[in-house]
Amino acid sequence: MSANFGILIVVGVLIACGVYLLLERSITKMLLGLLLFGNGVNLLILTVGGPPGSAPIVGRTNAVYDNMADPLAQAMILTAIVITMGIAAFVMALAYRSYKINTKDAVENDPEDTKVIRRRSPAEAPDHDRSDDPITGDSTFGGDAFDDKGNPIPLEQLKNLEDLECYEDLREGDFDEFDSDGDEPLRVPGGDRE
């Protein structure tokens, strides 16, 4: 099979432009890139379908071509065009929605990714506890101020001095503790002290 080199070059140019546009931030440019890429691929399928020929209808002959063109390639291109069109409509809706929300047509970075990148101290680590040391990230005895059900241990039952200190540090945030069922707030003993 001999392929049409001219068409292949066009395919290459279309796909290259499409990829370039897809790397943009603007949704509209990405959509254009998608369409160019899609058209490039459609042309590629047309090329691989073989040399040009008459319309693939049995019994219909043509003065120019002896053979029929490959109908399967055309069927594939039609399917691909329909799919690309549907998706293009959806992307336009997304672009419009993005414009309505952000008043600009651009894809932002994932905020969660940004948060992970910007982590600087152990206090921002995912496994940090409030009672952990904010600078070194080490565990402290503060976590011991809670019993095995997660309820705060009343102040008078705390045994050693470290627990007591950490307990007071924790209470500074005026944290309303829920009891284990999550039904009603449980006033923390000593939490209201001046």
Binding site: M30, P126, D127, D129, G143
Partner: protein, 542 residues
């Protein structure tokens, strides 16, 4: 009761037809939620029954085909069901049914006044049809169409409600998916140029005759396309960015099924079209990097949904490893692992849905005290979490042992590196889920750094969590609705059943792997007996 072998020809198209028709019916009945739910539920139950029958029949009688429209292959469109397709259909039907129950249960319980329910169920059914079509496709272009149907449906499901977050995630997801589809189309064009056919069976016989370089190039292009869909390492970065923003049930079904459709396509292409294994070393290295990079990503995450998305990427590496071994043992292990992983990831994401609803967050910086607050929730999290990490006796352990054994039996040194990588990944997975357990379930909420903040009241489908409120001000959501809890427990129990019936199930995956590795079974079933031999003889004289 014995089932007639002819029954299967009636059954083959049903996994595609029933959900497609049901999607049309539910779209028409968009204003009647109860009618919609009834139709969806019955369509998915029918799908599950049909899939189970297909698995039984293919396991008894072997592979079966259906020539759609009465045109014989290779001209007509062929639907093929073998043990692999049937196993995938059964597992996906279970997951789709359970997740639908979960979503509907949350909708019924928490109110659906402002929810886009009228579009949710039809789209969900279209997704089902696309997934089934991909599993049944007997020609490359039909596989592409199956992918497109499920992708188009997934675009809608991912951007339900179109909040700012979901539009952002949706745009990158749509773009990446479309690029992968276009690369798939390029692969189809190249394969068509090389072989002059799209029928997988005929293509398999003809690919033997073309030069190694050309064949490897075609495989490489297809592998990139499938690799994006399956989230194999250098092509996996889109997944953790897009999945976590979707509604909880949607994330559950995406995480469970969509990547596995890509894995299925890789298995099919690797066993049927390109069994010579030219790219096996590349696949092995990709598998290793997928495992390690994925799990390292998971360690850094604060949000449980993102953390689970990273473990999802990581564990795709195990399946790629099993496929790249090119042995029957490896393939059987990979198929078992696919089934295990679909079930366990879906279960975990459904549990996260419950956690979000109950505790108002999925961030480890906010959660705490859940084990005391809801022991049931703790149990349904702990079982699949340990299962994912591969603690015996759960199915994750069995799957990993099967894969590691296959790796050890493989002669190359690279497979030993993968065995080591797989073990490390398993341990790190245990570390990651243990951290979720200690922070979200054991630690007191008062000890969580941002434990006093929470999301507004939960919603099944739309995203209203723009602003945080104080945990104390959060409206009481009440007990977990039974309709949400039962599907979750159901998926967890199916995961346990994979342990209980591991012997029988591995026997099925062994037979599936054996049939996949003997290509002539597939080729003869599609193109008529003796075709494979004739083609081989013709190829030899060329």
């Amino acid at each position: 009761m014995t089932l007639s072998p002819d029954l299967i020809h009636t059954l083959i198209p049903l996994p595609v037809l029933v959900p497609m028709l049901a999607a049309a019916v539910t779209l028409i009945g968009g204003r009647r939620p109860r009618f919609q739910r009834a139709v969806t539920m019955s369509a998915l139950v029918i799908g599950l029954v049909v899939a189970c029958l297909l698995l039984y029949l293919t396991d008894r009688d072997g592979i079966a085909t259906l020539q759609v429209g009465g045109w014989d292959s290779p001209i007509g469109i062929t639907l093929v069901v073998d043990q692999l397709s049937a196993v995938m259909l059964v597992v996906s039907s279970i997951v789709l049914l359970a997740v639908m129950g979960f979503a509907v249960g949350q909708g019924i319980h928490d109110g659906t006044e402002r929810q886009p329910v009228s579009i949710f169920l039809p789209t969900y059914l279209a997704l089902t049809a696309g997934i089934s079509n991909a599993f049944l496709a007997g020609d490359l272009f039909n596989l592409y169409v199956g992918f497109e149907v499920l992708l188009a449906a997934s675009f809608v499901l991912l951007t339900l409600g179109a909040s700012a977050d979901r539009v952002r995630a949706g745009v990158s997801y749509v773009m990446v998916s479309m690029v992968s589809s276009l690369i798939f189309l390029v692969g189809i064009a190249l394969a068509y140029a090389a072989t002059g056919t799209l029928n997988l069976a005929q293509m398999a016989t003809r690919l033997d005759g073309i030069p190694v370089g050309t064949r490897t190039a075609v495989f490489g292009v297809l592998l990139v396309a499938f690799g994006i869909k399956a989230a194999v390492f250098p092509l996996s970065t889109w997944l953790p960015d897009s999945y976590p923003t979707a509604p909880a049930p949607v994330t559950a079904v995406f995480a469970g099924l969509l990547t596995k459709v890509g894995v299925y396509a890789i298995i099919r292409a690797h066993t049927l079209l390109f069994p010579q294994g030219e790219l096996d070393n590349v696949l092995m290295i990709c598998g290793l990097l997928t495992m390690l990079v994925g799990i390292f990503g998971a360690i850094a995450q604060t949000d449980i949904k993102r953390l689970l998305s990273f473990t999802l990427v990581s564990h795709i590496g195990y399946m790629v490893f099993g496929i790249a071994l090119s042995t029957q043992q490896g393939l059987s292990g990979a198929i078992y692992y696919v089934a295990h992983h679909i079930i366990v990831q879906t279960a975990l994401f459904l549990v996260v849905g419950l956690i979000e609803r109950q505790a108002g967050s999925s961030s480890l910086r906010r959660l705490g005290g859940l084990a005391a607050a809801s022991p049931v929730l703790a149990l349904v999290f702990l079982v699949p979490a340990l299962n994912l990490a591969g603690i015996p006796p759960f199915s994750g352990f069995i799957g990993k042992v099967a894969l590691l054994q296959a790796g050890v039996a493989h002669p190359s040194a690279l497979s030993w590196v993968l065995v080591a990588g797989g073990t490390v990944t398993s341990l790190l997975t245990l570390y990651v889920v243990a951290r979720v357990w200690t922070k979200a379930f054991w630690r007191s909420r008062a000890d969580a750094p941002e434990g006093d903040l929470a999301d507004v009241s939960p919603s099944a489908l739309i995203d209203e969590s723009e602003e945080d409120i104080a945990f104390d001000d959060r409206a009481d959501v009440g007990r977990m609705p039974a309709l949400m809890l039962i599907p979750t427990i159901g998926v967890v129990v199916v995961g346990l059943a994979l342990t209980l019936f591991a012997g029988q199930f591995i026997a099925i995956t062994d037979r599936a792997a054996a049939d996949l590795r003997d290509r002539s079974i597939y080729i003869d079933a599609v193109l008529g007996p003796g075709y494979a031999e004739q083609a081989a003889a013709a190829g030899g004289t060329r």
